[in-house]
Symmetry: C2
Subunit: 193 residues, 2 copies
Amino acid sequence: MELLKQRILRDGIVKEGNILKVDSFLNHQMDIELLQAIGQEFRRLFPDPAINKILTIEASGIGIAAIAAQYFPGSKVVFAKKTQSKNLDGALYTAPVTSFTRGTTFDVQVSTKFLGPDDHVLVLDDFLAKGQALQGLMKIVAQSGAKLAGCGIVIEKGFQEGGRALREAGVNLHSLAVIDSIDGGRITFRDED
Amino acid sequence: MELLKQRILRDGIVKEGNILKVDSFLNHQMDIELLQAIGQEFRRLFPDPAINKILTIEASGIGIAAIAAQYFPGSKVVFAKKTQSKNLDGALYTAPVTSFTRGTTFDVQVSTKFLGPDDHVLVLDDFLAKGQALQGLMKIVAQSGAKLAGCGIVIEKGFQEGGRALREAGVNLHSLAVIDSIDGGRITFRDED
């Protein structure tokens, strides 16, 4: 997605340890017009009219999923929670996730009320690196008996193994920008999608 | 906001301890069409054309703010973070917040890059009870030197003191549904806004 790649080149900041900061437009401050373009691109890549649930994970995925859902008429967004809350009770789907960014492991949780065998689920998230969060969300879809329509990622770190492993496993995965390398602060994108 | 009140009466679930669960449409599963109506109502209540930043707090506020921002052309969303992350560095505005729901105190944090004296800020959040989260966000706006255009809340628990204290302090606060009592599971709304 050319608009996104140009924005990453213009406003992304590369930090030590192959960390790419996109907090000026994606995951701290959010450019809503860019998110609208991202949502439209996800619709183009996932045209399946049966999609009725957009599943993501708090926090950064929520804005992306909410805006994108507007292009999937009648769909609802469900965001998996990372922490136990008094507001989350009853039966839950859970899956462990190790966070690359935070260096911790936690459970992602979704109420069984909001995913079931009749649902067709598109999983969306902001980043894909080692693929832990995405695999956690896919485990939750599998537990629910819902059909996984696909996984959409805004920025994939193609030099880490998450995306390759999922594609080899046959997952219908599309990333809007795949970064093949961040060498000396210079970002190189893969040509695809 | 009648549509919201009807939805709370239909799908809200009252739990012990005056807890109102709206997780089927607002803060776990999100009804995007309802969020669009909520966003339009916030625009009606806060017509100030100078508003250029929507400030909220992760996680539940993000979807509300992202959808609402579409009705404030040119505005950007900034969501305050609750936990330290490798992705959050540099100079920060911070304010302590005690969570009524979780029973913990934490710092909310916003990068100084995304709020400053030239900004006109609308603060949005899903719930207002004791007002702690809102006061934390208002402290961050004050630290930044930005102008606070107002605070918009989806559901206010009017039987707790947060909203009254803020209105007495002169804050331009609008709540789309104010609940005056939850007695024996019966929800009574205040007539206003």
